[in-house]
Structures are given as structure tokens and as C-alpha cells.
Subunit: 441 residues, 2 copies
Amino acid sequence: MANMVTVDNGRALRGLRSGAMEEMLDRSAHELYRLVHRTGPGAEFTGWLDLPDRIGPALLRRIDETAASLRNRADVVVLCGIGGSYLGARAGLDFLETGDDRATSSRPAILYAGNNLSPRSLRKTLEQVNDREFSVIVVSKSGTTLETMVTFHMLWTELVHRFGEPAARSRVIAITDPAHGVLRTMAIDKGFVSFDLPQDVSGRYSVLTPTGLLPFAVRGFDVQAILQGAAQQRAAAMETQSQDNDTLVYASTRRLLGRSGKAVELFAAFEPSVHYLAEWWKQLFGESEGKAGKGIFPATADYTTDLHALGQFVQQGSPCLFETVLRLRAAGADMTFTSTPDLHDDLDYLNGALLSSMNQAAEESTVQAHGEGEIPVIQISAVDTSERSFGAIVFFFQLSCAIGGYLLGVDPFDQPGVEMYKRALHALLSTPACQRSTDLP
Amino acid sequence: MANMVTVDNGRALRGLRSGAMEEMLDRSAHELYRLVHRTGPGAEFTGWLDLPDRIGPALLRRIDETAASLRNRADVVVLCGIGGSYLGARAGLDFLETGDDRATSSRPAILYAGNNLSPRSLRKTLEQVNDREFSVIVVSKSGTTLETMVTFHMLWTELVHRFGEPAARSRVIAITDPAHGVLRTMAIDKGFVSFDLPQDVSGRYSVLTPTGLLPFAVRGFDVQAILQGAAQQRAAAMETQSQDNDTLVYASTRRLLGRSGKAVELFAAFEPSVHYLAEWWKQLFGESEGKAGKGIFPATADYTTDLHALGQFVQQGSPCLFETVLRLRAAGADMTFTSTPDLHDDLDYLNGALLSSMNQAAEESTVQAHGEGEIPVIQISAVDTSERSFGAIVFFFQLSCAIGGYLLGVDPFDQPGVEMYKRALHALLSTPACQRSTDLP
């Protein structure tokens, strides 16, 4: 199967001992074997490996029908979730938008909520749904995540107030654990349409479950093509010898760079619509690797914007980082630059140039300049911003990340540290000061 | 003068040799002296120190008049700039919005452009001004920054097309070098209203010049209060003994943490409207420190959102980082949580709680949990999100950053590395492939 995501590490390996890459590729191939045969840590959370096949026709039909019903009755769909119950959907929705309004203007707008505790933010969400036909997709495995559930509670109150309880019930879709938890119980009790978050898939690996697929379908994107892209990328990763296996090459290269002392991986792309894919990448790698005092710190940049903010540091600052550049051609109409000689802005030499060509030139220049600055650069190329490409990219990073976790000697599927914050928060909220409307100091 | 920004480093100093802080504070006080007396590196770019006074009544009146004229004739003002010609304005505009639409609904909306080369992004901007009364503020010291000038060129073409050239001329405000460069020449030639970017202030220190002040005035914010806040913070920094001097405490603490091996400073706040202040902070510190192989890598997080993405890494990942949390109370109306017993979401214990109290509890819990995870945490507290507070915060960070650069032994006011990218880009764009509308591979 043709590889939809390719990796060029030619600018990343300078100074590494010869043979080191081959050894690491062998180890990566071994870790891939352990992963696929479910013999590594966290094997009970590797269900995402099978998702491209497991989403059968019956589930796809339910997703399509639910999406169609949302399109028919809602001008706005509020996506209420945080972390893995939010970032994958937003990553895909931004990535897939072509910027061509005609294609999607009849689709409901998507609002994101339930991902913070800012009154200003929640107030704005409520203002935006005010007087508009809205529905809510609420996503939480347990139904106890504070940000999401407090926000959902307020959205529910608004739905009941606006439409009455019976109609409000038909305006909520819950995506949650198949059997347990507060949200599952509520969905049964209220009769919400609901979808399962598979028990063997943790949040940051859940893009290809209804968490991502339902919002993608609501906006009219081709969910099957996304799954096909993921399946194609999986096949490429499983069937290719290690030295030509881009998934293993990425996992191995970043492991070697981490071992050589690089503390930070800076993930960058030259298209603003990739911003939330980068945020998703940040959670995926940060939460999977960052434990037991290990992991490469995941940072992101939107180029060219951030070349004028972080570029100086990347070029000449502390050599604590390496850069991973995702290269792709964004879909949507291009623009041609036409010079206006009387403006005297010295841009006549660009007359007739496509804006995308300038952006591409900026990409080349950056890789070249940062390479000259002796910054290791990993280049990852994807085909375009189609559905198929998105599925492939998601699977590529999930698989690289899981292998990377095994190479590092950690369980890439748990997140024990998040529990400390949740416990501390719950303890504090249960004290009398927060149970009343008192101002904290 | 009362300090409007205070620093608590009690959770940041664990494991440091006793006496180290006192020594570093002494050095910081010395560097402050060198800075103020213009005897350190880059002294010719320290004009920002005087900005709170230097913006006299005549300039303030011109800013007010120009802002009033923009409010009268424009529904949309496009702010065309990148890096320091963009981030400070956006930081302030987001920070100062109260979320109360009544106060600002009669003000023109602000659109940001000229900060990337994405055709999709530029197309969207042109669609958003289509059929609306719009004006353009273009900001560039030299007038040669590609992203900004290409975008301005296209906006200018649109203005001429829509309104005819004479009217178009009156719809552009240029902020640029007082005497030199392409944009200054153009402003003179076309008769644009223009403001000076002082020659002794580099981009990332220019918030308190017309670059920031004009957009703030357009949205109806109190520019004088911003300058007063900056002046008050400056007075506090100049007049306070070093051990109680919060500016020196911040500069010294982060220098000690950097010296102890921390590669990353993670700047976080619990209010989404602080997002672009964090982006501005990132440029300020990254570009000022990141040279000669030195500097702490500046990263940012939006909490609580990113607690569910980066929280795991911060808590238990590689101990390569420390955290700087900006604490403040956002202006704008609060919200009270009212439980609905029939929903069975186990949130009854929060009945009557303010959302801001929950957010505050999340802040406390985070500082506590990350502290228990042995992550050094610097807490910076500002009063609120008023204009005065914004001015104080800006000056606090600029001054800490300049002192930090001196402590590190670099010139905090230059950015030689950005030139490498600009040269490489210009060379590539001047090749024939980019001069025609050919698709690059």
C-alpha cells in the first residue's frame, strides 16, 4: 500500500553515531511487534489499532443518521468536551475545512465548550446559542470531568428553558462509556441518543471513534474516507521493512534525539488550519510519554506567524530542541499576487506568483535556515488536507507515539498524573468556601 | 508606589543553595542599574523604558482623533502586521475585553491579517471585509516584511477597487519608521495618516507605542490608564529594595532555574482571554534570550484546557521545566451554578457556587499538585484585567526580560537569527520558479 505520510530525517541525524539509526529501527520494529501482539504495557488500551475496521456499517449508518438529524434541526452544534474528548474533533474539523463556504454553509456551525471554567467563556457560548436552534454533543468517558459536566449542566438548563424537557432530551447526544458512569446513566435515564466510547481506547487515541467521527459527519465530511486513510497508513506501517517504514523512522529518530539530550520537540506547520492538529499532537505525545520523569516536552508553532516570535530562539538559542515540520498542501482556492506599480512597495518581482508558492518558499527557507543553525529538523510530508490524508496522519502519529512510549519504557496509554490534579480540585471544591457564592481571595 | 504585579517564588526555590537567591538579586539590581543608565548591550534600543512618559498629550490626542475617525467610518479595522507589530496589540485587545458586548458593540471589529502566507487565511480576511466598511492599520518598521506587505498590497487593491483611490488613501493608517523605509516612503507618497515606530524601540517592546495604543483606542479602551499602569510598575521597580522588588525576583528566580538545568519555562493562566498575552510573552522572552546558544525555551498553556493535555507531562514527565502561572481575576460578569437535582450528575454539592470560584479552586489545585510533583512554580499575581493592570503587566515583563538578558550575558534587544530566514526566503522568492504561477512540487 502506498504510504500517505512520509518522513525525511536527513536533516535530523547529524552527529549521531553511525549504526545508531539501524539499531533503533530494529528496536522499533520489535516494539511494533509487541504492540500489535498485545504483549506490551497497557495492552488493554490498544483497541485504537483496530478502529479502522471495527467501525462497521451499522455504526457508520447510525453516525450518518444522527448527523443528518442534527443538520436538519440545528444551526449550531455545541461540542462539549475537554482533552481527548475535544482536541481530535477540533483538529479534524479545522484541518478538513476547505475555506470554501459554499460547500459547508448549510451545515450547522460547531461551537466548542466545556473545556475550561472561565465564566466569560461560558457566557459567550450561551450568548452564541441564544435565539438559535442548537443541539449539544457531550463527550466524557466517566461523566465526572468538572469542566465538561458543569458546562453541560448549564447548556441542559438552557435547552430545557428554551424548548421544554421532552424536546431538550432529543437535542442531546452523549458519547460515553458503553456501560458505566454518570453520563451513561444519565443518557439511559433521559433517553439521549448515545454512542459508545470503547473501553479499550483512551481519550487521546479516540479520534476515530464517534468522538471525532460524529462531528466530522455533522459538517458533511466523508467519514469512510477518513477510516480508509487510517487503514491504508496502518497497512503501510505493518507491511514495510523497518528502514523504509516511515512510522518507525519517526519514532526512532525522535527517540535518538531525545536520548542525545534534546528536551523539546517543536512541531510546526505552515498552514493555520493545522493549529489544532498540533494541539492534538501535543496531548498525544505529552500525555503518552510524560511519566516516570521521562519524555520529550511537546511544543508547537504556527508558521510563518511564529517565525517572527520563536524563530530567533530556534535559530540561535539554547540547543535544547529539535523541530518536526508537517508539510502538506492545503485544499481550497489559491490566490495570485498582482503587483500595482504605483504603490512602490518593491514587490513587483512577485507579480503573478501564487500565495501558496510563497508559503512553500517560506517552508523551504525555514528548513534550510534552521538546518544551517544546526537544529535537527524532521520533515513529515502528507499528501493534502483531504479526509483520507487526515485519517492517515492520525494513525501515523498514534502508532509512532505508542512505539515511542515502548522505546522509552513507559505505558503510553495511561495518565496517572492527571488524577493528582483531579483529586486536589475535588477536595478543594468540597470545602465550604466553594459551595457558597463567596469570593475567594 | 503600590506594586500592581507581585511575585511569589516560594514554590520555585526548592533545592537551591541558600544564599543563591540573594546573590542573584544583587546581580539583578546591578543589571537594572546598567539598563537604566544605558551602559549595557543594546542601549540604543532601550527607549521603551521611557515610553510611559514620552507619549505626550499631542500624540495621545492624535491617537484619540484617529481612533474616533476609524470608529465613525469603519465597521471593521484590519490590523496588518506580524511578530512585534501584531502580538502586543492582540494581547491587549483580548486581555481588556470584558465580554460585555454592550460596551463595545458600537466599536469596529478588529481583524488580524498579514501574519502568515496562507491563501486560505487571506481569502477569509477578504471575505470578511467584503461589503463592509473597512479600514487598514498596517504596521512594519521597514516595510519589507513579506507576510505583512503582500497582505497589505492585496488589501490596498481591494480598498481602491471598492472605494476608489482617493478614498482608499484615507482608509489606511501606517505605523512605521519615522524617516526611513518602504512603508514610510509610501505613506508620504500616498498621504496616509501615519504614526512613528520609535527607532530606539524594537518590535517586541513596542506595545506602548501607537502599534498597541491605536488599536486599543479604536476599541474604546483607556490608553492613558494603560500608560499610568506602566509608569506605576516602573516606579515600583525603580524604587524598591531588591529583595522586595518583584521584577528583580522574577528575573532572578528564572535565571536560577535556568542555571540549574531547566530548559523550558511554561507560562500558564486560567483565563482564555490571556492566551495572546502568553503569545506575546513567548516572543518577548524567546527573541530576547534565544541567542548565542542560550535561553530558556518559552512555552505556553491555557488552563484548565491544557491540564487535560499537558498536565500529565508537567506533573510526572521529564523534569526539564518550571511553570510560571499568571494569576488574576478577569473582569466581566460571573456566573452562578444552580444544580438541577433530576439530572443526577452528582454536581449538587456545587449548587450556588460561582464559576469563578471553581476556576480559582482549579488554580489552587494545580499549583498544589504541580508543587507536590516537585515542579518549580513561580506565581505572578496581577490585580485584574483593567487597562491599568495591563500596562503594569506589560512593563513588568519587559523589564524582567531585559534584566534577564543581561544576567544571561546577551543583548536582549536584537534578533540576528531572524535575518537568516529572511535572507534565505528572499533568495528563494527571487528565483524564477516563484516569480511565475508555477506549482512547486
